[in-house]
């Protein structure tokens, strides 16, 4: 099933790529916060934008991580019973419990999309002193949910292949962590 593998690999690569870029936002948050402190304390001229911009970049950073973390098996679970099953049984279990995953991410995708749309529709700004637009950051919710959903689909296909015996599971998931 080359198409399936291509999908799984493609999605994982996409999320890894987005993660590599989004992870750099930490430098922006660090720099902007320090700049804010510098302006307020050293120059006695507080900025109106540093706190708000940091907050929004953090929101973007946090929400976009969903797919990346999943691609690296970084969403923690309880492995008390789970670890005792065979890889194939685990795959079957994951297929069953993925219903919850899809309900959650589906709800976030649709209703997050709605929140983003309401914001775009009214060209929402924060009405703070700086008054930046909010919609790019709200739009990150459905985008992130979509990326997470894709990664979840990739995992589902992988689990189905494993359950059917078409694919051997990776030896140790933990090795995948960056």
């Amino acid at each position: 099933m080359p198409v399936l593998y291509a999908f799984i690999n493609g999605v994982t690569r996409l999320n890894a790529w987005i993660g590599r870029i989004a992870s750099l936002l930490i430098f922006a948050m660090f720099g902007i916060l320090l700049l804010g402190v510098f302006y307020r304390y050293a120059l006695d001229a507080p900025t109106v934008w540093t706190t708000e911009l940091t907050q929004f970049l953090f929101g973007l950073y946090a929400v976009l991580s969903g797919g990346y973390v999943m691609a690296h098996r970084g969403h923690v679970n309880v492995d008390i019973v789970y670890a005792r099953f065979s890889p194939r049984a685990r795959a079957v279990l994951d297929i069953i419990t993925s219903v919850l995953f899809f309900l959650f991410t589906g709800a976030v995708l649709y209703f997050g999309g709605l929140i983003a749309w309401e914001s775009i529709d009214s060209m929402e700004t924060t009405y703070s002193s700086w008054n930046p637009p909010v919609y790019p950051f709200k739009a990150a919710i459905p985008v992130a949910a979509f990326l997470l959903l894709l990664q979840g689909l990739a995992k589902l296909f992988e689990d189905i292949a494993i359950a059917l015996g078409r694919m051997t599971p990776e030896p140790d998931n933990a090795e995948h962590r960056p």
């Binding site: 804010g36 706190t51 950073y61 919850l100 959650f104 997050g112």
Partner: protein, 436 residues
């Protein structure tokens, strides 16, 4: 359906799906969605997405990636390792010295940061490998980080205390002052526990082998390794106390300190920075998606009329005023096993506070009991933030059962601390009475 039954099913499904191995974030999110559907209808999913946006907008959470990044840099540049080597040399024949040192570092971390997650992940990265390398028992080490990480909400500044003040109307300054001594009490209790335990079971925390014990010159030389960490602590705490930065901004000052340290330690490379950034992204993402879903989960529970349950439980309690206080602590303890502190606050405090004040108890003292209870809750299974944050950083050889098991004695130590503050309210009220 009655709220009692709903509650049972709601938390029952949480535990059921957790055991089936689905990641916590998706269990919380999925269970919320299912229960919202049956109690309110599809339209209420708007609440789930809305809670995600609300969490994205919490400025105080910005401290998480910054402190995690700081820890990653300190770990990768060897600053952390040098610090633990020093602690090991100096603790010499004292068994458990590193675990006690870890709890002390956690207390310092707590004074720099108002939340719990950052400290747990940071210490899991810095302290755990150092202890395991030197033959420490994994349960002893994991538990120390679990309880130490939670100190962040008890030792000021504390976001939970500010929320408590907002919900109950007590003074923020008094709450901050009241948290100091109970925080130190917990540190001392944990240290006593570690010393006693290691006295009877020396194999849990090997002392430095006699042939490796260093002479004074080497010990003094090793002391240099504290300079950089102290520099960072001075920079962070100094910038908060001198009014240069807010606590969240101070986290960025901490990152600056870590970067300076890496240059001084001659370990600074761009690759190191990039690796640290990527790992920080992964860990922050893990934490944040748990928070996204946890906030949706408690909002969903509140929409189901959770307060009625608490009101019902409080209606007929035997045992007089003290019986009431104890029952409240038990309710908080049980809720903290399955809910996050902010949700617990919103559900219980509106019911508890009028009772507490009408019985003549000090709301500041009660607040400290509440915060200690939440700190314990951070590490009580099945759902404790610290447990999961720690799971995200530990090596694969450490499993969730290891982490669950590790907290048992430390939860007991926490309960002892809670009881002591309950019996001797002066521990909480001394400083606020003196300062205000």
């Amino acid at each position: 359906m009655s709220i009692e039954l709903t509650t049972l099913l709601f938390f029952g499904s949480l535990i059921f799906f957790l055991v089936l191995g689905l990641p916590l974030a998706f269990v919380l999110g999925g269970v919320s969605v299912i229960f919202l559907y049956f109690t309110w209808g599809i339209d209420s999913f708007y609440l789930v997405a809305s809670q995600i946006w609300g969490t994205m907008e919490s400025f105080t959470l910005v401290a998480i990636p910054l402190f995690v990044f700081m820890a990653m840099v300190l770990e990768r540049t060897g600053v952390a390792n040098a610090l633990y080597r020093m602690m090991y040399l100096w603790s010499g024949g004292v068994r458990g010295g590193l675990a006690i040192g870890t709890v002390f570092i956690c207390a310092i971390f707590a004074a720099m940061c108002g939340i719990s997650g950052a400290a747990v992940v940071a210490m899991g990265t810095i302290a755990l490998p150092s202890m395991l390398e030197r033959g420490y028992d994994k349960h002893l080490a994991l538990g120390a980080i679990n309880i130490g990480g939670g100190l962040g909400i008890l030792i000021p500044p504390s976001v939970i205390m500010i929320l408590y003040s907002l919900i109950t109307g007590v003074s923020v300054g008094k709450m901050f002052a009241a948290g100091v001594l109970p925080g130190l009490l917990l540190v001392v209790l944990v240290a006593i526990y570690i010393i006693v335990r290691c006295y009877f079971q020396p194999e849990l925390a090997p002392a430095l082998p006699p042939e490796e014990r260093a002479e004074w010159p080497e010990k003094l030389r090793a002391l240099r390794s504290v300079l950089l960490p102290i520099l960072i602590v001075v920079m962070v705490l100094g910038s908060i106390m001198a009014g240069i930065a807010t606590p969240t901004e101070a986290a960025a000052v901490g990152v600056l300190g870590a970067l300076i340290s890496s240059v001084v330690h001659r370990q600074f490379t761009w690759q190191l920075l990039y690796d640290a950034a990527l790992r920080t992204f992964s860990l922050t993402g893990m934490i944040m998606w748990i928070l996204f879903a946890a906030h949706a989960f408690s909002a969903a529970y509140q929409s189901m009329d959770a307060q009625t349950l608490i009101e019902g439980l409080m209606a007929n309690i035997p045992g007089g005023p003290w019986g009431t206080i104890i029952v409240m602590q038990v309710i908080l303890f049980l809720l903290a096993m399955v809910l996050d502190p902010i949700g617990i606050m919103l559900i219980t405090l509106p019911v508890f506070m009028p009772i507490v004040t009408s019985l003549g108890f000090d709301p500041i003292w009660f607040g400290i009991l509440f915060v200690i209870n939440m700190e314990i809750g951070y590490m009580t299974p099945p759902f404790g933030f610290n447990l999961f944050y720690l799971k995200g950083v530990v090596p694969p050889s450490i499993t969730m059962p290891d982490i669950y098991r590790s907290v048992v004695p430390y939860v007991l130590v926490g309960i002892v601390g809670l009881a002591i503050v309950m019996i001797f309210p002066v521990i909480a009220t001394y400083l606020p009475d003196r300062l205000f």
